[in-house]
Amino acid sequence: MKLVREHWFELFVLLLYISLSLLYPGRVWHAFLLGIRLFVRMLPIFASVVFLSTFLGAFLSPRFIQRFMGKNSGIKGIIIAVVLGTVIVGPMWAMFPMFKTFMDKGARVAVVVALVGTFAVKTPWLPYAATFLGWEFVVVSVVLIICYAVVSGLAMERLLKE
């Protein structure tokens, strides 16, 4: 029972694969290979983030995090989050363990949410995005994403406190 509760998602995917492979073995094999290929491609970044988060967990002092991202960091903490969030590349979910480490060390919820939110900016991709959508679109979306990240961070902090 414990196995099912903790790994329902993996078991669900497994069952999906088994049942679909009875109907469409060829296409399921294709999907499997694609999934594995994406997985392998993501593995280095994921491994790095996990090891970085345990490293920070060991050596980053809570005092340091509290000073820059804690309750009394005020606007400074939010600005740090916005800057940090926009410059990091990679899939958002891969960073979750690291953000969780920040929170465990005393970072404000607003700061972590702003960090997650501004992740959508993806600065290194912007010139590429502009070739498809134009600079006007890109500039407007960057401004909107940053504003919303800060606003939703503050709102979530208030809601989670209750």
Partner: protein
């Protein structure tokens, strides 16, 4: 994709150097951090693997044209909401989202719908929600996703308002 691989490599090298530096100074703590990292990594692998296998299924069984037609054919707020759902279900590197967005615009989709689709692509991921819950806990994960959903809709509409003067 190339940038993502490069990003991973850079991360890896930076993390390795950090470990190396601290290993010289505080051997015991560094070793235990490394051990913890290894355990964490192994613990999370099954879920990550399952997520990517699910993405594989999605990519093979749901043709892009279907997604495009659903997002593109809607009218008014419905097309925006549908786009957000589509973006949340779609997975994959952002690099694919921009050309897809441009294609949708070219095919006559509303700007607000396309913008909402792009925001939702990066901010929401149906397949990674179980992972998010396992890291942050249910309350935080749920709230964050609700906020991301609202954000995608609102920002989609605002983008269109700023650029074209209309909502759809």
């Amino acid at each position: 994709m190339g940038l993502q691989m490069l990003g991973g490599l850079v991360y890896g090298v930076v993390v390795f150097c950090l470990y190396l530096y601290m290993f010289a100074k505080r051997r015991g703590e560094t070793a235990s951090a490394m051990k913890k990292g290894f355990v964490q990594f192994l613990k999370r692998i099954p879920m990550i693997l399952a997520i990517f296998l699910l993405i594989g299924l999605f990519d093979v069984f749901v043709p892009k044209e279907v997604v495009a037609s659903v997002v593109g054919s809607g009218k008014g707020i419905l097309s925006v909401l549908l786009s957000v759902f589509m973006g949340a279900v779609m997975m994959g590197p952002v690099a694919t989202s921009y050309p897809l967005g441009a294609m949708l615009l070219y095919k006559g989709a509303a700007l607000s719908a396309v913008a909402a689709f792009l925001y939702s692509w990066v901010m929401l991921g149906v397949t990674v929600v179980p992972f998010e819950i396992s890291v942050f806990g249910g309350r935080f994960a749920l709230l964050r996703n609700v906020f991301a959903f609202i954000g995608a809709v609102v920002m989609g509409l605002l983008t269109s308002l700023v650029l074209t003067g209309g909502l759809f």
